[in-house]
């Protein structure tokens, strides 16, 4: 199964199933996880994409799943937001709630917490999107690990008009 989220909406195996902003999609299709609103944009995007892939999967099949995500920008949009809070000493208010999201792998942790996934969570950064590399890294993971299923793909947030999650659920 494949899910894509862009400003155009959510596509599940190429069929549009939802439209609107991330918050609107959350309210219309999820709605039971208020922690969503504490997340940064990258985490919201990855979290929503994973919801569409995993919400109908029974918990026992998710416990040993793996979540392996890639992007180009890392957490750079949140890094810039955090940087704005530490520029001047008289305007200096660093916050742990923001700082924690200056790590790109937090999105994999948010997905793991939501779905009680105790398997591998990993985030890789590439100079540009490269599906051959993504496929190779995911395939090579199976050489040392045996997850029940893998959520894998590209999740990159630039701004409200430029974002993409393109994730696959790989099962045997």
């Amino acid at each position: 199964m494949n899910v894509t989220i862009t400003p155009e909406g959510v596509k599940l195996d190429r069929a549009i199933v939802a439209t609107g902003s991330l918050a609107e999609i959350y309210r219309a299709h999820i709605g039971d996880y208020p922690k969503f609103f504490k997340m940064d944009s990258l985490s919201k995007l990855g979290f929503l994409a994973a919801e569409f892939l995993l919400r109908d999967i029974p918990p026992e099949q998710k416990e040993n799943a793996a979540v392996v995500l890639f992007n180009r920008s890392g957490s750079l949009v949140t890094d810039r937001n955090y940087q704005r809070t530490i520029t001047l000493n008289d305007n200096y208010f660093p916050s742990p709630a923001l700082f924690v999201y200056t790590l790109a792998n937090i999105v994999t942790g948010e997905i793991a917490i939501r779905h009680k996934i105790y398997g591998e969570t990993a985030f890789y950064i590439l100079p540009e999107r490269d599906d051959a590399t993504i496929e190779r890294v995911v395939a090579d993971m199976l050489l040392t690990s045996s997850p029940t299923m893998v959520v894998a793909g590209w999740v990159d947030w630039l701004d409200e008009n430029n974002y993409i999650a393109d994730l696959k659920l790989i099962t045997n």
């Binding site: 890094d79 660093p94 105790y118």
Partner: protein, 378 residues
């Protein structure tokens, strides 16, 4: 078989693995109180490159390439390891795996849109210096250094690559230090892993490189360090707080023990950041895994937490400790301060075992571990 063919550590304690090991054996550290560094309103205790060391580190052609301090550090460390290994880093079957939490993030303090801040491109510049066009960045917070080794191992097992040059580094900045200060995670003095008086971590700068090679089993001898097993598990609990049951770390240890039983271990080199919660969590995980009697050490008391470098330099030092028949000391540790008792190595201890586990845990609920053994291990 995957074996280790070269390594390097660059830190404020020295620019080679040997200098670092000797400094540790002399009990040295560069953890000092830093006042006004990076224009921060609050002091912090950290291990920071004396900027006088920088010209020496930068004494490569990289000086002319417009590389950042972070990139020059990676290049300088990788160059020493590459030279030691004798490999051709420009060959098609070489991959660079870069472990960093924040790369050039300091660039956005000058220009929010600074292009240098894209870590994938920074890694490409580092690999490109060596003529290598294959690079990958592992960005998994504090566990990145073990994740990079795991990614390197897999790239070799997958058959496309023969050599993996695994480089880990982070440099401190206003960005990183202010963030850890906001978490109230920092100790005002040199940190005390697993100790009853521990009160937080220190941050440190370092770079490390390990070069792995895929080779035939017949290429191994008594002196060969080889990869045994690796594991990565999430706590599924909290993005910034360790699990109360040590769940992910325990599962990592369980996987490693399935490949290498406890009686063959010289020690477990743990994360041991010296925060109350990390060390307590690790004590639970190690005890649950049946490793309470196995020697455990942590090296943060020498270096602080070197973020993306930590998993790499701590793995290298663990190998060299076994080469010397010793368990390295846990600087800062004096009395047990975790609810589950561990066999913490306070001082240098002899060992005749030839294998170890390196484990890490970090933000995002992530945990990872890797096991290595040396030839002649029974």
């Amino acid at each position: 078989m995957i074996r280790v063919i070269a390594d390097n550590i660059m830190s404020p304690l020295g620019l080679t693995t040997g200098e670092n090991l000797q400094a540790i054996l002399r009990g040295e550290s560069q953890l000092r109180v830093r006042r006004g560094l990076f224009g921060l309103p609050e002091d912090f205790c950290g291990s920071v490159f004396d900027r006088d060391m920088v010209p020496e580190i930068a004494d490569t052609q990289a000086n002319d390439g417009g590389f950042s301090f972070f990139e020059r550090l990676c290049i300088a460390s990788a160059a020493k390891a590459v030279a030691q290994s004798g490999i051709d880093p420009a060959a098609e079957d070489v991959i660079f795996v870069i472990s960093t939490t924040k790369g050039n993030v300091d660039a956005i303090s000058r220009d929010l849109m600074a292009p240098e801040a894209y870590i994938g491109e920074s890694a490409r510049r580092i690999a490109g210096y060596f003529g290598c066009s294959n690079s990958l960045v592992t960005s998994n917070a504090c566990i990145s250094g073990v994740c990079a080794q795991i990614a390197g191992v897999r790239a070799l097992l997958g058959g496309r690559f023969r050599y993996a040059v695994i480089v880990g580094a982070d440099v401190l900045s206003r960005f990183i230090v202010s963030g850890f200060q906001s978490f109230k995670a920092l100790s005002p003095e040199p940190c005390r892993p697993y100790d009853a008086e521990r009160c937080g971590l220190n941050l440190g700068e370092a770079a490390g490189t390990i070069i792995l090679e895929r080779c035939d089993d017949s290429d191994a001898d008594q002196s060969t360090w080889q990869f045994v097993a690796c594991s990565n598990h999430n706590d599924a609990n909290h993005i910034s707080g360790p699990s109360r049951t040590g769940e992910g770390s325990y599962r990592v240890l369980r996987d490693l023990l399935a490949a290498l039983p406890a009686d063959r271990l010289a020690f477990v080199n743990a994360h041991g950041t010296a925060t109350l919660y990390n060390d307590e969590m690790e004590s639970i995980a190690l005890d649950r895994a049946g490793l309470a009697a196995t020697p455990v050490n942590a090296l943060k008391g020498f270096y602080g937490h070197t973020l993306g470098a930590a998993g790499i330099i701590e793995t290298i030092l663990s190998m060299h400790a076994v080469d010397n028949g010793i368990v390295l000391p846990t600087r800062g540790f004096a009395s047990q301060g975790t609810s589950h008792r561990l066999n913490v190595s306070a001082d240098v201890r002899p060992t005749d075992r030839r294998a170890f586990f390196k484990i890490l845990s970090g933000f995002g609920g992530s945990n990872a571990g890797i096991a290595y053994r040396k030839g002649g291990d029974r």
